[in-house]
Amino acid sequence: MKRIFKFKRMKKFKFVLLLSTMLTITSINVVYGYSLLNTAYQYAYPYDIQVKPQWNNYDYSSYFNTAINAWNSSPAPIWFNSTSSPSQSVYIRAFDYYYGNVGWDGRAYYYSATCNTPSVQLNDSNWPFNYGGQSNQAELIAHELGHHIGLNDVSNTSVLMRSSDYKLNPNPTQDDTNGVEAFYSRIGY
């Protein structure tokens, strides 16, 4: 009788163990929806990532500031500083040109030994990127800055780093900030 009881308890324990393992796996998939750009440059001072705007055809300043504030007010372990005279040797340039219908609204170009500086490039040909009469430039700039802090595009349509379409919201989601945290945890931040 005692043995049967023990056997039943053992079975129950195994079932609970299996269930909790499955739940853990499911929750991991939900939490870690971000994707990291392994080739992205890791800034030595992530709390002082300097960005130099140089607008050519349109003044994107207000959208640019909104995008920077969106990242700075998030829990991501980074801080963007907009400056006209960067003091860091590696800084991001943000500029715009008319490129025509090349298929993209904005582009993030990463640091490498052969290019002068990383940059955020906006395509004026798609200006004003209106979605239902509202501007999506701030979201676009926040998305491109996201690439510079280690985030890859994802197919999940609810996050800032989705590869296309807009939600008219420049604020990074928990998924996005978790990704940045994972990227910078590699160097102890």
């Binding site: 750009l37 080739t39 440059y41 500029f95 040109y97 008319y98 490129y99 025509g100 219908n101 090349v102 298929g103 993209w104 609204d105 904005g106 582009r107 993030a108 170009y109 990463y110 640091y111 490498s112 030994a113 052969t114 290019c115 940059s119 490039q121 395509n123 040909s125 798609n126 676009l140 998305h143 491109e144 690439h147 890859n152 595009d153 994802v154 197919s155 590869s163 296309s164 379409d165």
Partner: protein, 176 residues
């Protein structure tokens, strides 16, 4: 003297291998990601939104253009079969792509490709075409199968990968 020569040779070998490694690394890290201006909800919408659809051979003729601090690549392709639009078989079609860009994988010479296109309208070059939705409109064709590269649009990729050329041709005809 012999020692001197050996030392110089070793030094030259060391420096050249170091330079080669640095050059290779530098090339790897020259990368960009873009926010697409178009998202195909499915194959039917990609067909409808593309002005031209072609099956073409990628030639070795390729030129580079830098405009607005961005590098672009123009690749010549020879049309094998025009599936949609006023492009004729055997025409040479110039494809404009953005270099170093993950979402716009460059056409590889010698490949046969299925391309969903629209006419390029902009300051970089004339008489060129761009790929609709970048990777969404670019498929390698090999052994009767369409193969997609990097594709965040998994549903679209799956839909195209399951088709034969005849299936696709019929789908395009029916969509007109």
């Amino acid at each position: 003297m012999k020692k001197m020569v050996m030392f110089s040779l070793t030094l030259v070998l060391f420096i050249s291998s170091f330079a080669f490694t640095s050059y290779s690394k530098a090339k790897v890290f020259k990368k960009a990601d873009v926010k697409l201006d178009y998202n195909a909800s499915n194959l039917s919408s990609l067909i409808n939104d593309s002005d031209y659809i072609i099956l073409a051979d990628v030639s070795k003729d390729r030129s580079m253009v830098t405009y607005g601090e961005v590098d672009f690549v123009i690749t010549n392709t020879k049309v094998k079969q025009s599936l949609k639009g006023s492009v004729n078989d055997k025409d040479i079609v110039r494809i404009l792509q953005t270099d170093y860009t993950n979402e716009d994988p460059l056409l590889t010479k010698g490949d046969t490709v299925l391309l969903f296109l629209e006419k390029y309208d902009g300051p970089i070059t004339e008489n060129a075409y761009v790929i609709k939705g970048l990777y969404q409109g670019n498929y390698k064709y090999s052994n009767g199968k369409f193969l997609s590269g990097k594709n965040n649009n998994e549903a679209l990729s799956k839909e195209i990968n399951e088709l034969t050329l005849d299936d696709l041709s019929n789908k395009i005809k029916n969509s007109k």
